[in-house]
């Protein structure tokens, strides 16, 4: 094999290698992007779950759901409470029901991303009539 022929073979091989490398890196990059998107989603779930728990515990502590939601920053819109966060929106709805010797005050607290609920937590507190405000 002559020197010129070897050089040509080498150049063609390098060209093929570069093309294949570009193709492979595109595929691998896609998997990195997917991994990043999944990690962000996982972080979002964690953050939303912690946020919803905080609100739920505030409600348990206060006993007066409406004022607790208001002081947490929720705004009452279209029959429900709403608090927009950076990546998701916290939603809450409250109701009271008669429970014999007292009342059950219930709230449903949810976190939603683009209309899809990712977590919903019920918060119920029993208050006997004798101690109800």
């Amino acid at each position: 094999m002559g020197k010129s022929s070897r050089l040509n073979t080498l150049l063609v091989e390098i060209l093929i290698a570069v093309l294949f490398f570009a193709l492979a890196s595109t595929v691998v990059l896609e998997s990195f992007v997917a991994a990043r998107s999944q990690s962000r989603l996982a972080a979002l779930y964690d953050e939303a779950a912690a946020d919803v728990q905080n609100v739920a515990d505030e409600l348990y502590a206060s006993g007066d759901y409406d004022s607790a939601l208001e002081s947490a920053g929720f705004a009452f819109e279209n029959g429900g409470w709403r608090l927009p966060r950076e990546q998701y929106t916290l939603l809450a709805a409250t109701m009271e029901e008669n429970a014999g010797a007292g009342k059950l005050v219930t709230a449903g607290i949810s976190a939603a991303v683009e209309g899809k609920l990712i977590i919903t937590v019920p918060v119920t507190l029993y208050i006997p009539w004798e101690v109800a405000p």
Binding site: V28, A35, S39, L41, A42, A43, G100, A101, E130
Partner: protein
């Protein structure tokens, strides 16, 4: 002194490409697997939070049904002994009284349950009960359940 000339020949580029492509694929796969596991763990965390609050809600509802019984018994009984006696007759299913403590277990899923206990106040006092136990139990391992061992 012998000196050898090294130069890139045909095949070297392919070899390097194979090494680089394999390394990149391995890294990409590891990143994807790690992210998927993170997401599954987060979803599991969300499920656990929902289950715990659902259990707590169920515990409050059972307290409401117990308090309804206690209030009715308090109206009918004249003293503490009569009150306790009436409570024993009308205690909701699954609840047991021991001295002035009434306990029961709330379970909404196979994995988790809450052991609840309230202490009764004296006859005529309000509120009639106060919580003394509200303990979450988690089944750690199916094998442990067979042995009757529970963790929390």
């Amino acid at each position: 002194m012998n000196r050898r000339n090294y130069h890139i020949g045909p095949g070297a580029a392919s070899l390097m490409l194979i090494v680089v492509a394999l390394s990149m694929s391995a890294l990409g796969m590891l990143a994807l697997m790690s992210a998927r596991n993170d997401e599954q763990l987060s979803e599991r965390g969300v499920e656990v939070v929902e289950q715990v609050y659902t259990l707590t809600t169920a515990a409050e509802r059972s307290l409401a049904s117990l308090d309804a019984v206690l209030a009715q018994c308090a109206l009918e009984a004249e003293d503490d002994a009569a009150w306790l006696s009436l409570i024993d007759q009308r205690l909701p299913v699954g609840m047991t009284r021991r001295d002035r403590e009434i306990s029961w277990t709330v379970q909404t899923t196979e994995e988790r349950s809450i052991l609840c206990a309230v202490e009764l106040a004296e006859h005529g006092e309000v509120p009639r009960t106060h919580w003394v136990r509200h303990q979450l139990f988690t089944q750690l391992d199916p094998l442990e359940q067979e042995d009757g061992a529970w963790g929390n």
